[in-house]
Symmetry: D2
């Protein structure tokens, strides 16, 4: 961390600040430029809020040098983390496709979709039981009943399941029944939920918030890892931009950045990321070409009658065709699917 | 709601879509333009997801006509809502200033700040017990102990208190001890929390998320009101923009928009909204000139040693001076403070 | 275009507005919903500013139905446009790679880079002569001298050249010497420049502004096409988001959207789009997988000594390797390179 | 400027970089942290692009210490700049209101509006002759004829005039006929235009681009000042955010920031900044309370029939009432109007 002082700061003021900084337990080194004086802080600065020095009139600005995330940082953990869910490995050479309905609607529906997805090559079954909806009047999911249906479909097809948790209330059921627990974009900074998830032993699929930076996403992962759960999968699912044609703007450029900054696996959600079913194919292929470790895709037996997000769901037939294209891109990348 | 069809859509396809739409329980009216056919939906469309029609190849786009929020909408409730917290009214003619430390640090500290704020004219005491921090390694607040200290300081000074709730876990304590329950920006779309708060009888101070639109903020208020709690105060606290000089960009233009679209009171947080103590005065004055019903301001006895956000806190002396300026602006607006 | 009226608007007011609207030369149809009345406008609405009706107190909001761009719209021109520059076709089956130095520094430099790029398979030579720099104190390019050097290198290697025009001042020289005239992101809405370029007969590479929507980009293309020049190539080069790790956020999701909404060719600039040389390879591959018709890539013989943007330039060796990977992705897409 | 090195960088690599940096003509000082080595650069770094060091694998990131703007920087010019246009001073104690029609439509119209504005207390007459329109099919202004009408109206009412220049083409006419030359938001980074304007002796009203940061706005001012024209007025006119209710989001928080970082006068355009006439009053009052030196407001004799932007124009009567309110706020601020 470096504290840049305003030009013309007196020796007196510098000494005062220097003393104040040392009390936080770090070492201070002074750098004298032509116009500018800088205090360089070394030691453990992870507990220091860079804003705290701005209160001093003589401080122009404080610059962080080290990233605030440690456990999620590739610098301190150069090897790729491979997350295991049942018999599936995420973050290894094999690209993992998670597929299934946006929301679980009935036992028959989810089982039928699960079988179709499995047949086409999906490795993990996704399905929503608790749905975060921006309107209190919209369908909110089948809740625990939906979770049970998903579990049954997962068992019958031999696929691990992933589903979204919306609060700490049902954490026991999720820990028991779900193979990968998803944290939605709107909860990426629900710190209470993240902290609870840090104490369990299940992989967490952490979706990026729609205005979140790379650092914020990795700090959210750090919350989970700080408590002892290092099975975190990062998920890009579209950010908010000025474009209104698409529901969100799928940010594929974050994929190589996350892979460089962190050792955690990275998957991409082209369904929510675009909100339009016909964009899923090009963006899925592009995601793999950009280096993603996996995809999470909505597939529905009857999109026009889906209880939510039908417009972004693929039919099983379209999904099957997509998997064919993805295999070819994966091959170019030297990876299996 | 209106469904705009792609040019050249056949009668066949239109009839099919028409039938599909009618099954949702609304009436359909057809509008024939030169190039374009539009289906106008009337009846109760609040349960219809406009995206659900996009799955039809013949649909170009769906446009919402009515706002999706009803209870928060001034259209259906033209009179201003006045929220009561203890003996304080928010949303009436009197401008309400809420002030206090970012986080409660000790009984003595919060009481001393409370007395200073009261003396200068603050009507409500604010103080953080549970702190949402982007780093798991940062100070997270004193929790229930902090809440107790705040309650004591509130009683001793005769001020109602406002404090942030971070999850449903402590909802009983908050309902019992706190006069206004704050929902932070990061939890604005924590729908489980909003739903729980809809069932209690305490005013809720709902902070706008940092990338939230007016509609999203009002839909979050709708979640609380849909369950029966109509004591909601809206709070602008800065949005994220490309500017990095300030922590956030305080959006005062939202004040007249919220006042026009909703009957709920609107307060402004210039401390978090800017992140810089010297911006609090100009932005507080501007907020009142723009029509805000109140302000929520951080005041700390010793900002350089504050456990969080010292850089945006005022000393009691600066706060006292600020209150003087605010009184003059309020007077011009024909309001008391 | 549809005008949505506020609930409770009197017949009187509706009649008044109806008459006002008809004077603009369009037909008006009335749609009566339960709470809402809508006026549907048909006829030529392209000259009508939707905001002009908002002045009426009874108008809630105006919604455009038709896209405001006509000539750039695939709806009215379903076939792909293929732009020809010398012997190169952009927008056909073959993917076109444009490569060369960010700025032309000397005759030897640009010729050497051009030869390397050509050998690796680039079809068009890019090079900056006039450089838009955010600081008046930074290197501004060699100007007309640079343009001459680029022309010579293009001739010697048999490659058409592309270079950025910054104002109408040198439009004659560009028309004479350059094969594709580039309009930079900051000039995307320099309407005077666009209008001048609409009168010449040279392909225009139009870069998307860093906060521009799809509609704004296509309206900028419309400016060029409205004057008679329909040889426009659209170029995604990164948008501004909250992320600061990369210089810009390369938005690949715009590629399928542009291809669906417009018939114009779409190329991607991964060099400016990311600002980091090591991101060029994954993002180039992803761009082709997403459906781009071409790429424009910075290659420099000695990046550390480049006069600008060295950090985002590839060495000829890295570029050569990249071209190998791109060929494989192109093949999967059923395209040549 | 400081170059932060990646952890584990060898002495060899550091020496190589050190040598490279020194060749740019600056001094280098080494700071050794616990994990991190930093090179501090001192001397004239204004010509150095911070990105140029990122090409070295050992460089993690480069941080600018000094602001890149010098002439616009309050640090080097602590006194407020007062810009003179005719007999009007902008940036002094008196708040200056510029008012007039969005676009000049006829001699009678502009004269009538000018007289009304003058009577209500406006000091400068605004009017558009050349209009930047996002559609090539929309009304583009009366051009030089419009400019002439504006000039006549200015003379007859004794008011200096401000009008927008769109390219270098008519720079002589503007220099001769216009008292304040406006650069529009879309041209804020039209560097050729800025450079030409740096050589003339007329005040420039520089509007902030809709995605521009404070630094970019001040660098645009620097372009004008670098060539010798230090009569620059900064103008906030709304930025683009995710909100679509308003045309733009008027950013009043930039006012105190600009006043602190720069000595140049700051005016606010609440008409374009919101796009809605009923927001002009609250936002104008708030702008003055936030510390603005002036306002630029659209006034039209017959808004429903305005050739552009009628929805954001005030009638002379509403403007007159507004001026009354503004006087009271100005008085609280200790300023005249």
């Amino acid at each position: 961390m470096m504290i840049i002082l305003r030009p013309g700061t007196t020796e007196d003021k510098i000494a005062q600040l220097d003393e104040f900084v040392r009390k936080t337990g770090v070492e201070v080194q002074r750098i004298q430029g032509q116009d500018t004086t800088i205090l360089g802080l070394s030691g453990d600065t992870s507990r220091i809020d860079p804003g705290m020095f701005d209160i001093f009139e003589c401080v122009e600005r404080t610059v962080k040098v080290a990233e605030p995330y440690k456990k999620a940082n590739r610098k301190y953990h150069p090897q790729n983390t491979v997350v295991k869910a049942g018999n599936v490995e995420i973050g290894g050479n094999k690209i993992v496709v998670m597929a299934g309905p946006c929301s679980v609607e009935s036992e028959a529906q989810v089982l039928s979709v699960a079988r179709d997805c499995k047949r086409s090559g999906a490795a993990v079954l996704r399905g929503g039981a608790f749905k975060p909806r921006s309107s209190p009047y919209a369908f909110q999911g089948l809740g625990l009943d939906g979770l049970e249906m998903l579990k049954v479909a997962g068992r019958k097809t031999g696929m691990p399941i992933v589903s979204e948790i919306m609060s700490t209330e049902y954490i026991e059921q999720f820990e028991r029944d779900v193979d990968i627990i998803q944290v939605g974009a709107r909860n990426m900074q629900n710190f209470v939920l993240l902290r609870e998830l840090s104490h369990i032993h299940k992989p967490i699929l952490l979706k990026r918030g729609l205005a979140a930076t790379v650092e914020e996403l990795l700090m959210a992962a750090e919350y989970i890892m700080a408590g002892g759960n290092d099975q975190v999968i990062l998920c890009e699912r579209g950010i908010r931009t000025f474009e209104t044609y698409t529901r969100n703007t799928l940010d594929l450029s974050v994929v190589p950045v996350l892979k460089r900054q962190s050792h955690l696996p990275v998957v991409v959600d082209p369904s929510h990321g675009t909100g339009l079913w016909w964009m899923v194919e090009p963006m899925s292929k592009a995601a793999i070409a950009a280096g993603a470790d996996g995809l999470i895709i909505e597939v529905h037996n009857d999109p026009p009658h889906a209880k939510c997000d039908g417009q972004q769901s693929l039919t099983p037939m379209v999904f099957d065709k997509l998997m064919g294209s993805l295999r070819m891109i994966a091959q170019v990348e030297g990876r299996d699917i």
